[in-house]
Symmetry: C2
Subunit: 483 residues, 2 copies
Amino acid sequence: MSAGHELDSMFYPKSVAIVGASPNPTGWGGTSFLTRLIQLKFPGNLYPVNPKATEIQGLKAYPDVRSIPEPVDFVVVAVPAAVVPGVLEDCVIAGAKNVHVFSSGFSETGEEEGRRLEEKVVEITRNGGLRLVGPNCFGIYVPASGLTHWGARPTGSGSVAFVSQSGGHGEELSDYAQGLGIHFSKIISFGNACGLQVNDFLEYLAQDDDTEIITMYLEGVRDGDRFTQLVREINLTKPVIVWKGGLSDSGARAVASHTGSLAGESRMWQAFFAQTGAIRVHSLVEIIDMVMALKYPHVPQGKRCLLLGGGGGNAVALADIFSGEDLDVPPLSDETRRGLAEFIRLAGNSIRNPLDLWNVLDDIQLLRRCLDLVIADPVIDMVVLDRHAGSWGNEDRMRQRELNDYIIDFAKNNIYNKPVVVAMRMLEHDPDIIAAGARLRRDFALAGVPSYSSPADAARALGRLVKYREFLVESSGDKGPAR
Amino acid sequence: MSAGHELDSMFYPKSVAIVGASPNPTGWGGTSFLTRLIQLKFPGNLYPVNPKATEIQGLKAYPDVRSIPEPVDFVVVAVPAAVVPGVLEDCVIAGAKNVHVFSSGFSETGEEEGRRLEEKVVEITRNGGLRLVGPNCFGIYVPASGLTHWGARPTGSGSVAFVSQSGGHGEELSDYAQGLGIHFSKIISFGNACGLQVNDFLEYLAQDDDTEIITMYLEGVRDGDRFTQLVREINLTKPVIVWKGGLSDSGARAVASHTGSLAGESRMWQAFFAQTGAIRVHSLVEIIDMVMALKYPHVPQGKRCLLLGGGGGNAVALADIFSGEDLDVPPLSDETRRGLAEFIRLAGNSIRNPLDLWNVLDDIQLLRRCLDLVIADPVIDMVVLDRHAGSWGNEDRMRQRELNDYIIDFAKNNIYNKPVVVAMRMLEHDPDIIAAGARLRRDFALAGVPSYSSPADAARALGRLVKYREFLVESSGDKGPAR
């Protein structure tokens, strides 16, 4: 929510018209949008628009937007591209300012006809004062107002916003994230960006009380200076995570075919990240990995990791992986090592860092003793635990559950407030064990403990978290560290 | 097998003594080794050695190696470190040349006592002319001769060798790989490398008819010049894949704690890879991804990929990922695009490259038509197909199976001999769908089609394959391209 922003009526509409809904309930596009709004119990008025129908899914149908008896808060347009300009003209006449055009077939086709139609859309939008999302996109997803256009149903409302030039990414991300307990305030898929731009959405999200973290998938940005300025400001209070697509030559060509955008130069984007401190990622998984790290209340005060795993080769791999993300893996202090040596034999183990301690990872008493020692060590800022699933018998499974419950408690309540995160160890071919590992990862995530599909994923997210924290401290200057 | 190499008696022993086996059948170390050899039906003579027992697991036990009534081909030593020198002296006296020392507690502990013991081991080995593997390692795994020391049982024999300074990596790799249909000729875990060195094993594998691909996990190499020379030679006929661990500072410390090795400098290793053309990887998964690409009979004649996926944002991501691995994603030729345009509508799709064609990925007739066109395009050297699992109903599942069977046939038998590989699309939180995806990946792999857990993994392996092929062509000079 926000205090009277003009886009409020788009994100929290009291009425929605769906132009292009059809009486065929299995239809794609407008019909499926209507079905989803009904299924999600959209609380306001729904107006199907179709000149060939009088009733659709039990609702009175209207021949055009002008015939709807109230000024509609939000119009969704899902008709062939050639018909879109006419519908937009109707919206202007009817005073329906907020419009989402789902239809594709514009500049992204690379054909003359599409380009011409897109010019027309831009013209009507500008002259008519429309607030247009799209065309060629999935539009607005706001669980709190019952608004969604894709198949993955929201199961809750959260504090993460995702601004995306790919609707597919929006759907996939919403589904993936909520399975791991991360929910969204808003997802905005805005495709060819003929009307509202990423900057318009950013201005809204900056003042939106429901949004605490802003994530983005971008293909092209028009007003780069304003964008940089906005992100630089917002990033100081709401972390901004950006995946920029299309920086390779062939990626830029794919961007042109997808949203007709100009992908921009790699160098320009490097400068953007350096100036804004925005967190740079390269996939949807990395977005969620990062969100998980940011939402976790314990904040690392430095970059020094304690890594606890099993196996000597694995210890070497862990050290290399975390060092590769600009994190430190320092030797433990003498005092901690003396404490560990009291109950760990040296042959076949290592009490340096990474700790190579199979038996500790499998025994709650040893693990407790070990974690109590290492978390207190002043050379350590955070702890990463190797976990894995196996084809365990009942007894093992119960012991593992007890261990995992203990880890969750320790990760959330350790008195040092140091982050404790879990990295899954998944060198597996067996689908059942892979599923068990995924379940375990999800259990940690749902319990509020950042958990990653691999040590490499954990290292990447933690490395970025540390870098973001450093940016905040530097930016705060003599005002003292932020938060 | 080989023609009379002195290490033949170690890799294909007719008799094995296990020093440190105990009557307790659940014991670790020597006891478990003996159990595994019995379970695997090791065809030769087994001699448990334990001064406190007369019979172990139904076999006559001997008090020491000297008391065994025949010269033993291979002695496995699993006793506390302090006792190891005495056992080695017995081996020298008994004329048992091939020895594997499992025991840890030597230089890797960083303690004076361990260093002193290791010096003694080196001295006895050198003076007694022993061929020592270890200490502090899992030793030799040869499915063809019934030899294994770890829990993951071999299910077959293959053409891949793995030389590893981590036994844990050996066990994990053997298990992971064979689940995907890749089997080993030999796995050699050689730990602290006090006797036989990586160069000794390489010389053996170079002439070993059972080995076609050599993979390695190394922490430190002593005779670097000889190593470089050997790999440079072997790599021309048997691809050599190397994971070097411990190149970060903390990784180097972990290496010291693990096998007491000197990790060496990053720059030195860069030179090694440049000079030898060895394939550089950074994990066990990457080793197997690479082996899969190398074993596939179709060889890319260039670096130009056709990528077929669904979703516009996904197409941009695919293009960026493959470009990032030095592969090309060129636009299709006009002729191919004209052919595609005959049955694919432009709005919402892209027939450039990557192809963004959801419906083609779900319809065997369309897929066939599409693949027949793109595989024939002279601008394309290989094809990568996006696959994913879903929570499908029966009908969908059957259609998917038909599609996948068709893809397997096409990947193996297309008349252009161009590689066709599968990249799983796995943005999933649902453990059951994750398991279904893993099963699908495995099905492709077991059918002989390279399949990868993600587009990033596929791109990495294919990029390395192309680079390796280029190295072969350059190395062959005016003798024409190899193979």
